[in-house]
Amino acid sequence: MSEHDDHPASQQSIRAEAIESLLIDKGLIDEAAVDEVIVQFNERVGPMNGARIVAKAWKDPDFKSRLLADGTRAIEEFEFTGGQVEKLVVVENTPEVHNVVVCTLWSCYPWAVLGLPPKWYKDPSYRARVVREPRRVLEDFGVEISASKELRVWDSSAEIRYMVLPEPPSDGENQSEEELAARVSRDAMIGVALL
């Protein structure tokens, strides 16, 4: 179902504008704050941060073991700014295990490494179904996971944030870390795409 079937965005945008204009009247809001938000989430944080982590883990086995043991500490060296993750747990896809991340109660998501979540991650369908029928949900994404693989779903119900370390592409062995990072998709780090 689309979340906008019965309600054009104008309904919410008018309500937001009404609240904003009243707060402006009362001197309680900074009008420039909206532009700052747009710059922050368009330019400073996004899945490019997670992609750099993944590519480094593929190239550097020592970093990879540190990342899987303590994701929060391992990513300190990247000095990402904006959007904190208090505790990051990185879960590894292997030939035996496929991981996929969700937040059934809300939309908890590792902003610092992946940016703001896509709309489908926050929609009822994904949140409802992926803990119950993840293989069928993955089919919606064009991904087939063999029945012999263990499928681990991570429901981010507290403040710990999860990110998937995808399996590297089979033809990427001779590529540089930078070239590999460009091939890592946001969806692969949520666990709904393969590379």
Binding site: S2, E20, E159
Partner: protein
């Protein structure tokens, strides 16, 4: 609370719909909601994230399903602004009408007439609170989750209640959302990752090889 937001395992929603080349914001108003949250914080109407999450859970359930992510946030922030006395519902409605709103539209916000008094914000930022008390459970322990929900905020979803699982990780102490959301203090508890098998959650209809991992607070759990 057993609100509409607790989606895990609900059936009938259909395919996951993806948007090609999805922009970060679909309209300027979505980014505006972040600015409104900042203003609510400055005005003392929003003290912590748990309080905000509960404010969003309390919006009109039909709006929760139909107003989209930022529409839900907007309803939550309106709840908080009205409950703190910063704005009045009537003045928001009047201003919205001036700006072209249709009086028949569903308003997401449902502010409480007698809201919780949430004036507490921890001195330490974040939610990690290392504890001196020993954790009750160890990795590998079998545990059963509490069977019932509560009227207030909780991070124990309905689909894992009364179910048996195993502890796979211990994460030391964290602020308890169930308490913090209502201004009743941080009351940090040990937090664990618990794994449930697909068959424990969904019975014989479970997909093969399914293991659902979820982070749960100590008071949600008991030894089997």
């Amino acid at each position: 609370m057993d609100g509409i937001h607790d989606f895990g395992g609900k059936q009938g929603f259909g395919r996951v719909l993806r948007e090609d080349d999805e922009p970060v914001f679909h309209g300027r108003w979505e980014a505006k909601v972040f600015a409104l949250l900042g203003a609510a914080r400055s005005a003392g109407a929003l003290m912590n994230t748990d309080q905000f999450r509960h404010a969003v859970e309390r919006i009109d359930p039909v709006a929760y399903l139909s107003h989209g992510y930022y529409g839900r946030w907007l309803g939550g922030v309106e709840n908080l602004l009205v409950e703190a006395g910063v704005l009045k519902t009537e003045e928001i409605a009047a201003r919205a009408l001036e700006l072209g709103a249709n009086p028949a539209w569903t308003v997401a916000a449902r502010p409480f007439a007698e809201p919780d008094v949430v004036d507490y914000e921890g001195e330490i930022s974040g939610s990690i609170r290392p504890l001196v008390t020993k954790p009750v459970f160890r990795t590998g322990d079998r545990v059963r989750t509490r069977s019932f929900g509560t009227a207030g905020h909780t991070r124990l979803p309905a689909y894992v209640r009364g179910r048996e699982g195993s502890i796979t990780a211990w994460h030391d102490g964290w602020v308890l959302p169930d308490s913090n959301a209502h201004g009743r203090g941080e009351n940090p508890e040990h937090l664990y990752t618990v794994v449930f098998s697909g068959t424990e959650l969904w019975g014989v209809e479970s997909e093969p090889g399914l293991a659902v991992h979820i982070d749960l607070f100590e008071s949600y759990l008991q030894k089997t």
